[in-house]
Amino acid sequence: MRNLINALIGLAAILAIWEGLIIVGKYPPALLPPPTKVLAGFREIAVSGALVEHVLVTLRRFFMGYLSACALGIALGLVCGWLTRLWAVTEPVVHVLRPISPVAWFPFIVMWFGIGDIPATVIIFISAFFPVLLSTVAATRLINPLYLKVARNFGVKQPLLMSKIILPAIFPNIVTGLHLALGAAWIFMVAGEMLGAQSGLGFLIIDARNGFRTDLVVCAMITIGVLGLIFDRAIVIFERWANRVWGVGPAA
């Protein structure tokens, strides 16, 4: 409740500053659209159905890219973390690839896949993949050896060792990586859709700018921010749940 009040105070403050800037600076609406205009813009694209359409497209791409990055990142991370030698070989490669912004892949992605759903999805995938991979590898290598001893004692062998012991043992640690990846993927989603898509929230920004509708640009930005916040909260809840079910208890 107190959090909600604080959030509302912050929101009111930013709206006041925003409106105040416009009154004092007398900026033209195209340069800085006032809150009222943005609200009207929201109403407009909500009524026309465009907003929902763009959001749904974005969500579909986002979850396709993010979830496939999680699946592949965890699977490869388990294997690389378990096979020390394999990781010794792949680690340098990963560390060279990781600092390259996912957007840098763009020219190739468009040449290979054209324009549409795929480029944005691939960008989202790349930005989520490395945090998931690295946190899974690190967690696998740091697994409590006691669990492995127990598994050996009770005759749990590969591949069951992976699915029954290692993955659940390290899952609470992986979730941290999933959280990081979610944030990164959501941020790069906008870039992916700005560059290579004809729909979605990122495209809405480009499209609105081309039509000098800066109020709609702000609409898209706010929508992205709010959805990002919701996902972040959701994964925090998931983290707590994972700690309770998989881990050593409700972490502080």
Partner: protein
């Protein structure tokens, strides 16, 4: 005080049916047999560390053997070797006449910190060892439930380990070990982190539960009283490097009375042996 119990107290020793014997490694009837086992830890960086030196002894089938010794005398190392988690640098460890090369589900270890899997409920933890065996699901569930009842945790069957007290966790570990009906149970300071009352209660439970099927038990502890309460034979170890100093046969019937004079005298004799200068 090099030979407590044998010097001035020799006559008393016979009174209390406390027999001091030399290690008998090559006994024909030994189930677990260690011959000249040494363990050196050498990671190439620090100077090599000799943890065990020339350990030889045998554990008979159905016997309850306790190793007592101060911290760092190699008790855990010894359990790891017998249970097959590690191989000795020198000498051999054999169970039932076969050299131990790897852990086996026939020889279950109960660890000091329980070794429960935190993501599994009590029921699923107890079930662990049965999953790799071809037992029908219903039979498995019945067996698991019966065992959980047996250790008094029927109201916690779907709880996670973090929701249980230390004593309850160790009961889960015991039930999990018993579920696979092992030939041998190794216990590495299983009650080390419990309070005195819980310890005593669990010592009695270990006797009641684990002896029922004649399971051979090797228990490691630094608590002399625990050893005197539980063991058929007590093996006293000394550190640096770990050696067997002496072996006591405890000949009191169960359930032993911790308050009896004989208990106290046995306890004192073992303690003297432990603290005596080599």
């Amino acid at each position: 005080m090099g030979q407590p119990g044998l010097g001035s107290g020799a006559s008393r020793v016979s009174d209390l049916k406390l027999v001091k014997t030399e290690p008998e490694p090559n006994e024909a009837s030994a189930l677990i047999e260690l011959k000249g086992v040494s363990m050196v830890f050498d990671d190439g960086r620090r100077p090599a560390w000799r943890s065990l030196a020339d350990i030889s002894f045998g554990v008979k089938r159905g016997e309850f053997v306790c190793f007592v010794g101060p911290s760092g005398c190699g008790k855990t190392t010894l359990v790891n070797l017998m249970a097959g988690f590690e191989r000795p640098t020198q000498g051999s460890v054999a169970i039932g006449g076969r050299t131990v090369l790897a852990p086996s589900i026939r020889h279950v270890t109960i660890f000091q910190d329980y070794g429960l899997l935190p993501w599994r409920t009590v029921k699923k933890n107890v079930e662990l060892g049965l999953e790799s065996q071809k037992i029908p699901a219903r039979e498995r569930a019945q067996k698991v439930e019966a065992l959980i009842k047996r250790v008094g945790l029927e109201n916690f069957i779907n709880h996670h380990p973090w929701q249980l007290s230390g004593g309850m966790r160790q009961r889960v570990a015991i039930a999990r070990a018993l579920a696979v009906e092992p030939e041998i149970i190794f216990m590495d300071e299983p009650l080390g982190s419990l309070d005195a009352l819980t310890r005593m209660a669990l010592q009695e439970e270990i006797l009641a539960l684990c002896r029922e099927k004649g399971t051979t038990i090797v228990l490691v502890t630094h608590d002399v009283e625990e050893a005197v309460f539980l063991a058929d034979r007590i093996i006293v170890m000394t550190p640096g490097p770990g050696r067997i100093k002496n072996v006591f046969t405890v000949d009191m019937p169960h359930k032993r009375d911790r308050g009896s004079a004989e208990f106290a005298r046995t306890r004192r004799a073992v303690l003297n042996e432990m603290t005596a200068v080599v």
